[in-house]
Amino acid sequence: MGITSEALVLACSAIGAGLAMIAGLGPGIGQGIAAGHAAAAVGRNPGAKSSITSTMLLGQAVAETTGLYGFAVAIILLFANPLIGKL
């Protein structure tokens, strides 16, 4: 039983989408480090808890951007595949 070229592209796209989500590794580590340092800062200076929390959330949201780029690539490969049209 032969594999059609369309099926091959779809299968490789699914693998590529999975590989693209490895981009979630970096933001995970980065957000963890940010949260750990924020916890240490709250421990040293409990009075500044609210401003530390808002700074931490803002920094985490910015750090998340690279992970979301990987997520966008995965979504495009799965649901709006540009490669199928090239066949």
């Binding site: 949201a61 910015v62 951007t65 979301l68 997520f71 966008a72």
Partner: protein
């Protein structure tokens, strides 16, 4: 067998934008989608809320204790006021209206997933215009505050860095809109997968935990982050 199985699972998964009916405009075939339905409902809810709130606040007596809707609105307005004053200072007073409007719009869009709508912000066609409006605000206010130095600052500290500075400017609306879209879209996909995979008996109760995280927590955080970053970027341009 496997094809049947995956087809069975995929048939239940529901997170796509669906077209309801199509119409022609200027020779283009356009679709009225679930995003439009969500946007219209969110806009109507916000309009009704604001009109009712306006009537209540206009008729409120200053010596009475505020209660009900008036209380909620005063809390929201003073929270946004404090946020803008904390980040932008006195110069940013004019931006309170825009920040409050965009915060309420994004918040209501994000939590509309709780009420069975497909969140409009899980459509890149909604978040990209929001990012582009922020981009226009940044550039226009930069030009007004710094005049020609706004352009020449792209060539600082060395003209060789001009392409990198330009990319840095253009990446702002892209990353703002992608951040909002990605977070809400991932929540929508998670909810769709969960609802598709759970047997009917377990669909009551268990998804509520994920709803709290994906719709309420993530939605509120992303609203806060969008407004915060908008203010930080604008303040970067208008302050000396």
């Amino acid at each position: 067998m496997t094809q049947q199985l995956s087809g069975m699972i995929l048939a239940d998964v529901d997170f796509y934008i669906k077209g309801l009916f199509k119409y022609n405009l200027f020779g283009q075939e356009l679709w009225f989608t679930t995003t439009h339905v969500g946007l219209i409902i969110v806009t109507i809810v916000l309009l009704v809320l604001m009109i009712v709130g306006h009537h209540k606040i206009v008729r409120a007596k200053p010596e009475d204790k505020p209660k009900g809707l008036q209380n909620v609105l005063e809390m929201a307005v003073s929270a946004v006021d404090n946020m803008v004053a904390g980040i932008m200072g006195e110069k940013g007073r004019g931006f309170r209206n825009w920040i409050c409007a965009v915060a309420m719009f994004i918040l209501f869009c994000n939590i509309s997933g709780l009420f069975g709508l497909r969140p409009p912000t899980a459509d890149y066609g909604v978040t990209l215009p929001l990012g582009l409006i922020t981009f226009a605000l940044i550039q226009i206010n930069g030009l007004r505050a710094k005049k020609i130095h706004h352009i020449t600052s792209l060539f600082q500290p060395s003209p060789i860095l001009f392409p990198i500075n330009l990319i840095g400017e253009i990446a702002v609306p892209l990353s703002l809109s992608l951040r909002l879209f990605g977070n809400i879209m991932s929540g929508t996909i998670l909810m769709g997968l969960l609802y598709g995979l759970l047997p009917a008996a377990l669909k009551v109760g268990i998804p509520a935990v994920i709803h709290v995280y994906c719709d309420i927590f993530s939605g509120a955080i992303q609203t806060y982050v969008f407004c915060m970053l908008t203010m930080v970027y604008i303040n970067d341009k208008i302050s000396d």
